[in-house]
Symmetry: C2
Subunit: 426 residues, 2 copies
Amino acid sequence: MTALKPISSDLPAIMREIGEAARQAALVLAHASAGAKTRALAAAAKAIRERRSEILAANARDLDEAGRAKLSAALVDRLMLDETRAEGIAAGLEAVAAFPDPVGAVMAKWTQPNGLEISRVRTPLGVVGIIYESRPNVTADAGGLCLRAGNAAILRGGSESFHSSTAIVACLHQGLAAANLPRAAVQLVPTRDRAAVGIMLGMSEFIDIIVPRGGRSLIERVQAESRIPVIAHLEGNCHVYVDRGADLEKALAIAVNAKMRRVSVCGAAETLLVDRAIAEKALPPILRALAAKGCEIRGDQSVRALHSGAKLATEQDWRTEYLDAIIAVRIVDGVEQAIGHINTYGSHHTDAIVTEDNVAAEKFLDEVDSAIVLLNASTQFADGGEFGMGAEIGISTNKLHARGPVGAEQLTSFKYVVRGTGQVRP
Amino acid sequence: MTALKPISSDLPAIMREIGEAARQAALVLAHASAGAKTRALAAAAKAIRERRSEILAANARDLDEAGRAKLSAALVDRLMLDETRAEGIAAGLEAVAAFPDPVGAVMAKWTQPNGLEISRVRTPLGVVGIIYESRPNVTADAGGLCLRAGNAAILRGGSESFHSSTAIVACLHQGLAAANLPRAAVQLVPTRDRAAVGIMLGMSEFIDIIVPRGGRSLIERVQAESRIPVIAHLEGNCHVYVDRGADLEKALAIAVNAKMRRVSVCGAAETLLVDRAIAEKALPPILRALAAKGCEIRGDQSVRALHSGAKLATEQDWRTEYLDAIIAVRIVDGVEQAIGHINTYGSHHTDAIVTEDNVAAEKFLDEVDSAIVLLNASTQFADGGEFGMGAEIGISTNKLHARGPVGAEQLTSFKYVVRGTGQVRP
């Protein structure tokens, strides 16, 4: 989709102004007190509640335009706000407000033999650019997390949610004003022109980090074009491995939950691996339970021998993030082969083993090269809230800086503060 | 310089083989014991000592070719090895061997209300590509630090030091063999063809992180071209600010040491800022001492009024990393203006304040946005060894992941290990 209503033909100049304002705001935010940031977040949550009808009216405009543009039902569902979802946005801001302020925390401290006292202290990153798709709640989550971490945020939301995001940002601005913090702490790019994304990715003078949140094509575009470091969340091709040492009741409950609780989240399981030693006993009840919930089963020949309704899986299935009620199933020769399969075909996101055998468990937890590895728990726990981080902006599959859920703490940097008494270096 | 002796016309195939071998080696290294890695490092140090004459002979060949290519004296000095420097390389490997193994360390651990026990555990990054210039000791430092952190290293050294680096890598291979670790844990790109650098920067399938170590043009090329995350060390335009609350004896000693101890290191001070309130008293003795050591002084008009030998500084001087016996000097109106100058003109590397006034000190340490900020100590302490990190591969000016000295710990990633008892997500 191209611009519906570009607000100016001089987009580069507009983006530059946004960048300069963000840089100025970041200087103030970096030294804002924890209390001021908390007050701004709480006031923004209050504004979301008070201006709920205004937000829902803006969302109705977005939905109306989406209807005329004949967007898919899935996209319309992601875009849609109602009373419950609006309350969720306010509650999310309150959770971020309650999260301990990360800025200024002393991460480590030691004294060198020459008396130099060295501390590693958390600092904000500066200006964070967030590029996301249609969910309007990301506007509040991303703006709120950046504010908690003392960063200025430049938000480039999906064009489909433009009116909703504008209404939500107005509430964030009301919160900032209540705490006497600069309005430019959170800015929404005021145009639907897709060229704005390309300009953002080149604004290394003004933006310290880019966080893309969306589908594979968005992430790949950002990674290919960005001249700014990126915290990216690639796809979640997550696995559940049921080991010969598994408690079969746990295995059943975990496999079904990991696949079917919500099929559209990045922590949903896409492939089930089962140890050949217990496959005959363990697999049929799991596959029956999945099928009963409407899940399509795709397996190799030995899986089909145990579950006649299974379709034949191809190698492509091992690589696919379905985000749908489909599961690929493979029988493997124990934990070693399960690890090999996951490290070969997975996306290094979130993978689980079900077993009571400590040796197999520790081997799996150690050797699977993923951001999150779980023992006897559902992959659907891959979530910043479930990790106690208050909220998240996504699950990073980077190996640098932030891996796994990205909350306020992961949106910080640090500096070394060295206190001496006149030391010079010999 | 183009290839002197390309070992094959099919450079992409050679690089691919190196990448594949590194990826295989990384799988083994990730789970190698701390003891095995320590043994390999100690045996490599021993090999460096035993094969010193071989290394010095290889270095003589490099120096001979450098002489014929009429390289600058500074470059020849960086390239040159002698008995002392060779012993330094062995001792450096022993320091890395003695450093605690970072892999497997539990960085944080907590339990969620639902009983899930979450640990954040250090892991290797995988494969690290290091691109550096002529100092042969970097071959050992970089290879050793990567090995300590469980990473496979692909080293692309300067073409001038090709024979020296080859001899040093032979010693690292001897160390790896002594500990039964794969030879491909440390690989030197076996050609001087500069096209190898471009190929490395695109090998995202095989290399997890690129560390460039060298001059500005190398770093800028890497940042512009790399499709792989980079830990970069930009220039060190470092400052010493002498506040009105300074102890003038400390100020003199620190300013002279920060500038003149070694002028070619990234932690050398390039600009001296002095508070107007004490300039008349503090500045003349400092400038006399610097001049007596052969330092050229460049200042604004008020500096020249206090030191007649000073040349006139232009704005360009505030931005320059001289790496030479030259210092820019400016008189400022107190700590606020000093902070403004540093954040505007500096390179966010290392900056120091000299003062006995706590309020000014804390303001400076808090508000100067640099990787390292010091109170009453010389900027020349910007060094991984001086920070107690054993050794370093450089000083990062990134804000993501590794900021400041990059030692073994900074060459790691982490994963979340979640232990449950059958939990599924409601």
